[in-house]
């Protein structure tokens, strides 16, 4: 049944060969942990990507219950954690995944750095990777405010205050980031929009580029 649907699609789009070629792509011996146990370090990037998928999914499903308003944000997050069926697990995966993804990115970067895998001709993918790191840190910073706890409020207060120290334009930047002089509803909505709209779009595009470049250039050998 599924096979016949696949055949019918393939007849019109001729995608079978492309997909088969991708699936037949050999795992190079030097990155295969079954052949060389030390090759587990090559898994860090993939693990990062897997956690990012988890973050997308858990975030998407929390969006059903979360209310981005100073009056309701805290209560709605408490509701997800205490009342929604298995909501504690969805929220928990998102919470711990946020830390795990940064840890895995750092390990991935260390692997690339010590293998010298950032060198010619792979400088471009290092640059894309740095942009991805900045995007993920943007996720971390904006996501931190959303539960609207004391901790998130004051962390955002400190984090946004720093930007006001930029010479000459600091005050303007502060207002731009907070959506006003103080932290309030505009700040929360700004951070929410960035967290669930702007950043995910950029992340998907750059991750696509990251993977495409890896496939094109192949995984480097150490040294």
């Amino acid at each position: 049944m599924l096979g016949r649907i696949y055949d019918a699609i393939d007849k019109r789009l001729t995608i079978k060969k492309t997909i088969r070629d991708q699936l037949n792509h050999p795992v190079l011996e030097h990155v295969n942990p079954l052949k060389h146990p030390r090759a587990f370090v090559y898994c860090f990037g993939g693990i990062t990507a897997f956690i990012i998928v988890l973050m997308f999914l858990t975030g998407l499903f929390m969006l059903v219950y979360y209310i981005p308003s100073p009056d309701h944000a805290y209560d709605s997050v408490q509701y997800i954690m205490n009342n929604v069926t298995m909501g504690w697990l969805v929220q928990g995966i998102h919470f711990w995944g946020a830390t795990a993804v940064v840890v895995m990115i750092v390990l991935h970067m260390l692997r690339v750095y010590f293998h010298g895998a950032y060198k010619n001709p792979r400088e471009l993918n290092w640059v894309v990777g740095i942009l991805l790191l900045l995007i993920v840190l943007g996720f971390s910073f904006t996501g931190y405010l959303l539960p609207w706890t004391q901790r998130s409020y004051w962390a955002t207060s400190v984090g946004t205050s720093m930007i006001s120290l930029v010479p000459f334009v600091g005050d303007y930047l502060l207002k731009l980031v907070r959506g006003g002089a103080e932290i309030g509803a505009p700040t929360l909505l700004r951070f929410f929009a960035i967290h669930i709209g702007f950043l995910p779009l950029m992340l998907v595009l750059l991750l696509g580029a990251h993977f495409f470049i890896v496939r094109r250039q192949g995984i480097s050998r150490p040294f």
């Binding site: 059903v64 219950y65 009056d71 309701h72 209560d75 709605s76 509701y79 009342n83 298995m86 909501g87």
Partner: protein, 199 residues
């Protein structure tokens, strides 16, 4: 293609009936593991999404005062509106409530839920010959009636269906008279079915 292990005739030989190639085994194992991991991830996600199905509805305050019995005039329906506070999704919110009160006598009251039994629109009281907009240009009855503007549902003073799509009469609510004051116990009912089923 396909697993042949069911036709077990004993010995497994390369290329024989019971043989699975290494490649095929690995592809099945990959798909199987992928399915298990997907199911593990999907469980909390889908669980959170269907959570409203297992949440219990909190009962509203049992009796709500609607007014003194002399505030109502016999044969002249009066709508009584108020807002109720309720906890939804961890947030206190207000919800509008309304009932129609029909007085026949000082000790004979009928209270209707203010939602049409067809699809829960709010209906209103129309006098005989009163001109008003209709959804389909339906003919109005030759007497005072309740009229629902969404799909031209028409009810008489007793709540019986005079015309339009409503599947059952208007929903009556419990009534209590205490010390010259009228009380009701508010509740909602499922729309669109002939039976009166409380939500």
């Amino acid at each position: 293609m396909g697993l042949e292990w069911k036709k077990d005739k004993g010995k497994v030989e390369p290329g024989g009936l019971n043989h699975i190639s290494r490649r095929q085994f690995l592809s099945y194992a990959t798909l199987g593991l992928g399915a298990i991991i997907s199911a593990l991830i999907a469980t909390p996600l889908v669980g959170s999404l269907v959570s409203p199905l297992v949440q219990k509805k909190k009962a509203e305050a049992e009796w709500r005062e609607l007014g003194k019995i002399e505030d109502f005039k016999a044969g002249k329906p009066k709508i009584v509106q108020w807002t109720t506070a309720k906890l939804e999704g961890g947030v206190m919110e207000t919800a509008p409530r309304a009932v129609w009160v029909i007085k026949k006598d000082d000790d004979d009251f009928t209270v209707f839920n203010s939602r049409c039994t067809h699809l829960n629109c709010a209906y209103s009281w129309k006098l005989k010959g009163e001109s008003h907009q209709t959804a389909y240009g339906s003919a109005m009855p030759d007497k005072d009636h309740f009229f629902c503007p969404c799909h031209d549902g028409i009810f008489d003073l007793d709540g019986a269906v005079l015309g339009g799509p409503p599947p059952r009469p208007l929903d009556t609510l419990p009534v209590k008279i205490d010390d010259g004051r009228l009380f009701t116990s508010y509740r909602d009912f499922r729309a669109g079915i002939p039976e009166k089923v409380e939500i």
